[in-house]
């Protein structure tokens, strides 16, 4: 499978006068239009003192603008059966909508309003603060989340990637309305923004709509701030956190190359070989041959800053050391024995095949991604 066999689409990529990049792709297969608005701001712009601020900020975008209350916004979206959401991740923030074609213009207009003119009502801040803290606590119910939190903190320390994207109870309690307003005016700006629209919509009309709604947004005089990522000390750690659970989770991970590094693609292929799918090395060696686990896998997230090359396994507590040995020996083998030509080809096929299968999603995030990761 190769990406070049994707369905034919008509698309336009352009920049508005204020620098905003727009990608419009016509895909008339269904009576649906999706749009995503990406901003290159996320955890990378946070400090240990305000960790979680962009997650809190984006969760508040749908909770009030200069012209509408939280319920007004919910009403506008729900009465046409659309979806409108906002979210923040390691390196970007995102507003996304999905509608039937006829409702697209209205809901996209609303999306640009929440993006440009959020009002951060005090009562809504308190509600989202409470929900965020409860969200942080409930992650402690899941053994994998407990293990991953320890792993992340051990690897990154005070680097922004060391925190949950929701921050900590302390930082969330400390964030004030003024902080949110300041972060919004500082980082939400058209010149580094990417809008992607896909669906049953004429691309020229889509571009005109974006120009009409966002074209008059003036770029601030001050330059956009790049993430300030402190260096990360890399040294070996072993952290053990006993929990009364039915399974033990073992995670082994390494600091790894950012998306800009020349080794990025090679590491993606290694991670795919190691943990992607029912025929991957970890699945075959530890699950199929030894029956150690139901859940065993690997991941290597795409990051602007120092990423992580991670493998993990969930196993019966009495098998913990066997599982640890198993993970270690497979990782060692990756370092010592080159992949065969066949293994390498399979890893490439897997990555490309899954790209085609998830075409719409990949189109949305990749198109925008090229902008951030240039």
């Amino acid at each position: 499978m190769t990406a070049s066999t994707a369905p034919k689409q008509t698309s336009i990529t352009t920049h508005l006068g204020n620098g905003l990049k727009v990608i419009a792709i016509e895909n008339p297969a269904a009576d649906i239009v999706s749009a995503r608005i990406f901003l290159p701001v996320g955890q990378g712009h946070e400090t240990p003192e305000n960790a979680g601020i962009f997650s809190l900020l984006t969760s508040l975008l749908t909770r009030g603008t200069a012209h509408r209350s939280s319920l007004d916004i919910a009403e506008a979206v729900e009465y046409v059966g659309a979806s409108l959401g906002a979210d923040s991740a390691s390196d970007y923030s995102l507003v996304s909508i999905k509608t039937v074609s006829a409702d697209f213009e209205n809901i996209f207009t609303l999306a640009t309003e929440i993006l440009r003119e959020p009002s951060f009502p005090q009562n809504e801040i308190e509600l989202e603060r409470k929900l965020t803290i409860q969200g942080l606590r409930s992650m402690q119910e899941q053994p994998f989340s407990v293990a991953y939190k320890c792993f992340r903190e051990g690897m990154y320390g005070n680097h922004p990637y060391g925190f949950s994207s929701m921050g900590t109870e302390e930082t969330i309690m400390a964030i004030q309305r003024d902080d949110l307003l300041e972060a919004h005016s500082q980082h939400f700006r058209p010149d580094n923004m990417v809008v992607v629209i896909v669906g049953r919509i004429n691309p020229e009309k889509a571009i005109a709509l974006v120009d009409n709604l966002l074209g008059n947004w003036e770029t601030p005089k001050h330059p956009a701030t790049a993430p300030r990522l402190p260096p990360v000390d890399s040294h070996a750690y072993r952290i053990v956190t006993p929990q009364e659970t039915n399974q033990a989770f073992v995670i082994i991970g390494y600091l790894a190359a950012s998306v800009k590094h020349p080794d990025f693609a090679a590491l993606k292929l290694l991670s795919t070989h190691l943990g992607n799918g029912l025929s991957s090395r970890l699945f075959v060696e530890l699950r199929e041959k030894q029956g150690l686990a139901y859940d065993v896998s690997a991941f290597y997230p795409t990051r602007l800053g120092p990423s992580q090359f991670v493998s993990y396994i969930g196993t019966a507590p009495e098998n913990t050391s066997v599982a640890l040995d198993g993970l270690q020996s497979e990782l060692r083998r990756l370092c010592e024995v080159p992949l065969t030509a066949h293994e390498l080809q399979v890893a490439k096929n897997k990555m490309l095949g899954q790209l085609v299968s998830k075409l719409t999603d990949i189109l949305l995030s990749y198109s925008a991604g090229t902008r951030f990761w240039d």
Partner: protein
């Protein structure tokens, strides 16, 4: 073999409600197998989704967990295919495969490049029809399934749902865990599993759904050459016949769990199964009115205004014998009693005061659009057709929006009166131990 696509393909649903012609072809083969196909032009992939009436409901009591364990063992090969060969054959070419088991069905699916289907389909067919269930693999894979069970035991929401199912379904198989228990699985033998396989993996229980960039002619040719020579039928321990569950009481329990950071309150009502899809659709509307979206009654009152819950959600799932209407709240344990009271009051009022037309319109739009959003990809379509094909018939998959749109506020009121009594509901609270 008679293909007769003219008699069975592209007929409109006979629900009498929908005017949309059914876009897929439904082809019954002579051996009893049903093929469902829809060509999606300009798609480079093909999805195969094989649905089998071989879910946990068909297990004898003493074999609980067998259907799901068998789903794992199917991937362990046949006489022709060694363990792991199938996974590698599909994934080596960039395809994906997996499977899932529920009470009503097991299904096995793969996504492959359109050109790879002739290579991939014979593997899947051979595994399904001629699963070898080797004894040594049986023992090894049992460890994996037991780890899957352990993982579910670490999930409080799973424990809550399973406990509530046991409370409301009584002796009906829906009350048993699909995963089974380690104790029961350790008692089972490979030969018993082969019996179960030979009894249920038969053509009349099977729907082969294929969607994507491939023609009907090609699909039929491939299916006919690969899905033949079904296993010789086996006898098996008879499944105790159970009537549809009825909830005449009001079971209520509180369970204290370790490591809990949230309390939970889960309330569930029994509803008609797939035989009465119209009523099921009406109850789906009520579930949306109550707790789907910030404008819904309970989200607005309990999370946004009173702030007694961190989250409240409704779910309505259609099953063969009966469906389940569920309200789940995540909350501080001290609010459990108050929230339960509010839910009971709001449920009661659905049966006495009609919902507003604005609420009805909102719910209809939300449900009909969600339905449209769930039919975008070949995989989603294949899943939808297979699911309805297994529970009733594939054409019924298109009836949903028409049933939803037809409802009036008065009809919903009588539906609530009939099915949503606070006196016939199961309630489970989870609190930190």
């Amino acid at each position: 073999m008679s293909l007769a696509p003219d008699t069975s393909a592209s007929n409109s649903s006979d629900s009498g409600q929908t005017n949309v012609p059914f876009p897929a072809s439904v082809i019954p083969l002579d051996n009893g197998l049903t093929v469902i196909h829809q060509e999606i032009a300009a798609t480079p992939v093909v999805v195969v989704d094989v649905w089998i009436k071989a879910g946990a409901r068909y297990e004898p009591n003493a074999w609980t967990g067998m259907a799901h364990f068998l789903e794992h063992m199917v991937f362990k090969g046949s006489e022709q295919i060694l363990p792991g060969m199938f996974d590698a054959a599909i994934e080596n070419r960039g395809g994906l495969t997996n499977a899932a088991t529920s009470h009503d069905y097991a299904h096995f699916y793969m996504t492959v490049a359109a050109d790879d289907l002739p290579h991939a389909l014979p593997y899947l067919a051979d595994l399904l029809l001629h699963a070898a269930i080797p004894a040594d693999e049986f023992v090894r894979e049992r460890h994996v399934v037991i780890e899957e069970i352990h993982q579910s035991w670490d999930d409080p929401d799973w424990i809550g749902f399973q406990t509530l199912s046991e409370m409301i379904y009584g002796d009906h198989p829906y009350g048993r865990s699909v995963l089974g228990s380690p104790e029961v699985l350790r008692e089972r033998s490979p030969e018993e599993m082969r019996q179960f396989h030979r009894a249920y993996y038969q053509p009349e229980n099977m729907q082969v759904v294929i969607t994507g960039g491939i023609s009907l002619e090609h699909v039929l040719e491939l299916v006919q050459t690969t899905f033949r020579a079904f296993p010789q039928r086996a006898s098996y321990p008879a499944v105790e016949l159970t009537s549809s569950p009825r909830l005449c009481t009001n079971p209520r329990n509180t369970l204290a769990l370790p490591r809990l950071e949230h309390g939970r309150l889960v309330m569930a009502w029994l509803a008609p199964g797939i035989d009465d899809l119209a009523s099921a659709c009406g109850l789906d509307i009520l579930a949306t009115v109550l707790a789907e979206g910030r404008m819904s009654r309970l989200v607005r009152e309990l999370r946004e205004d009173r702030q007694w819950v961190d989250e409240i959600a409704s779910s309505f799932s259609i099953q063969q014998d009966c469906s389940l209407f569920v309200l789940s709240a995540w909350l501080t344990p001290k609010h459990i009693q108050q929230v339960e009271q509010v839910i009971c009051d709001r449920i009661t009022s659905l049966a006495t005061i009609p919902i507003t037309t604005t609420e009805l319109e909102r719910a209809k739009r939300v449900l009909c659009n969600d339905y449209a959003f769930s039919m975008e990809t070949p995989g989603q379509l294949a899943g939808l057709y297979g699911y309805y094909g297994t529970l009733a018939k594939p054409e019924l998959s298109l009836a949903y929006p028409d049933y939803v749109r037809a409802y009036s506020t008065e009809q919903l009121m009588s539906l609530a009166e009939q099915y949503l009594s606070p006196n016939h509901c199961g309630t489970l609270a989870l609190t930190p131990a």
